[in-house]
């Protein structure tokens, strides 16, 4: 019996008076792709950020590959080497080329020499279809290209788990496809991904499980067929039908 790759156990988080996560628990196995959906402000970003400890939880435990990573004595930098993150606003390093963005972590964190890092960097840009843009700066790239660089940057660290926080919601509609396609490829390669996204096409085709988060609680958690076709909770159904109307025509 092997440990789940990621497990959240009764995680609580509040900001001042506001309870943002209220007893969140779930597990995912290596190779799973879990998609988190839920209304704005329901705590989706906070939950992701707790996993790589950009945000500290108040109580509960988070385990990565069997190790509790929320202990006070956990080295957060060691944890983050194993957990990649892709941001809604890309957050590319503006002063570095696409290749520079991908290799910075390899050099400064993994301690690779320049030549090896460049080689690795190219491979990962290739993986997201951007090896021809290696020398472009972020400001010279389209939104879709920026996000693919963001994905390559996270992939390059060879993480056990990739976190995506609404990776396509800052993109013009016509640029969403290229990013989703890259994410599908990664899912097919067996990379473990925890994805906050309302891209229903991706969720239906690539997700192992869908997690519906509302007001800091997991309301429903199950495979896409079940959750989309036959939601158990009334809240889930309501949310999904609202989602359909707002996304209609896109």
């Amino acid at each position: 019996m092997s440990d789940p790759l990621l497990a959240l156990d009764d995680v609580y988080k509040s900001y001042g008076e506001e309870q943002v996560l209220s007893g969140v628990s779930f597990e995912m196995d290596a190779g799973d792709v879990d998609v988190v959906i839920g209304p704005s402000g329901s705590g989706k970003s906070t939950m992701l950020r707790c996993v790589n400890r950009l945000t500290e939880i108040d109580s509960g435990d988070i385990y990565l590959d069997g190790d509790c990573v929320t202990d006070a004595d956990t080295d957060v930098n060691e944890l983050r080497k194993q957990v990649g993150m892709v941001f809604q606003d890309f957050n590319l390093f503006a002063h570095l080329t696409a290749l520079g963005n991908v290799t910075l972590g390899l050099r400064k964190v993994r301690g690779m020499d320049k030549a090896t890092a460049r080689e690795r960097g190219y491979e990962h840009l290739e993986q997201v279809g951007l090896s021809d843009q290696a020398d472009s700066y972020p400001a010279e790239l389209s939104g879709g290209q920026k996000q693919r660089v963001g994905i390559a940057r996270a992939l390059a660290m060879d993480p056990k788990l990739l976190l995506f926080d609404e990776p396509t919601s800052a993109l013009d509609p016509e640029l969403v496809g290229e990013v989703v396609e890259v994410m599908r490829d990664l899912a097919a390669e067996g990379i473990t991904m925890l994805v906050v996204s309302h891209e229903m096409g991706f969720a239906r085709s690539a997700a192992s499980d869908i997690i519906f988060l509302d007001e800091g609680r997991i309301v429903e958690h199950g495979p896409p067929e079940q959750l989309f076709e036959n939601p158990q909770a009334a809240r889930t159904g309501e949310f999904l039908s609202r989602l359909e109307t707002t996304h209609e025509g896109e």
Partner: protein, 226 residues
């Protein structure tokens, strides 16, 4: 004594050009030394104002407020005659100008550091970089670029303010001009000080142009200019 013809006043300036050039040398040296001292103190001070906390941060902020709130003339006189920090006028002038410049440069860097969006720092932390490493590799290079225009301005101000060292008798450009006027032909005042002004102007102009070049060289392709 009949007034000398205008021509000889210019001739007087030309004859003493070597002295004026020597004074210019002192002015340039004082500017460079002061800017350098200002940078060495001002850059860390700006970083402490942004990233520091506690008593260190408060001490740096207070020092900045005091230095920016005191006339340079008062600082230099206080250091030289009041505290006698050094018997060398050049060293004293460098300290006065350097401290005052540090107080202003810290604000240039503070603003530049704050202008780099948080998300980039977060992305650097998310790949496993430590806070110091992330600031150094991601924020500082961008902040330095954005400091160039403010730095350009500060350079010009320091260059012109070196003339204040006249009050402690340092042989910089203005002092040389003043000595020529008092020790030689009093009728050449206009010619002497016009020449002095012209030299200051040429120095600031050339410096600004070179810093523009620096601005171009370090601008990020496709993005904002430095």
């Amino acid at each position: 004594m009949p007034p000398l013809p205008l021509q000889s006043d210019w001739a007087f300036v030309v004859e003493n050009l070597d002295l004026l050039i020597a004074g210019t040398g002192v002015t340039v040296a004082l500017t460079v030394a002061s800017i350098l001292l200002g940078f060495l103190l001002g850059f860390p001070a700006g970083a402490i104002e942004v990233y520091g906390r506690g008593p260190l941060k408060r001490a740096v902020e207070t020092a900045g407020v005091v230095l920016r709130g005191t006339p340079l003339l008062v600082i230099i006189i206080l250091l030289f005659f009041g505290l006698s920090v050094s018997s060398s006028a050049f060293v004293t002038a460098t300290i006065a100008l350097g401290l005052r410049s540090a107080a202003y440069q810290s604000q240039i860097f503070r603003g530049a550091l704050q202008s780099v969006d948080e998300g980039q720092l977060e992305a650097a932390r998310a790949v496993g970089m430590g806070r110091f490493q992330a600031i150094r590799s991601v924020v500082v290079p961008q902040a330095l670029r954005r400091s160039v225009p403010g730095f350009q301005n500060e350079f010009t101000i320091v260059l012109k303010d070196t003339s204040i060292a006249i009050v402690i008798g340092l042989g910089e450009l203005l002092t040389v001009g003043q000595n020529l006027y008092q020790g030689g032909q009093s009728t050449a005042a206009l010619e002497i000080f016009l020449t002095v002004s012209l030299i200051y102007f040429v120095l600031t102009f050339v410096t600004n142009r070179s810093l523009d070049r620096l601005d171009d060289r370090f601008s990020i392709p496709g993005g904002e200019r430095a």
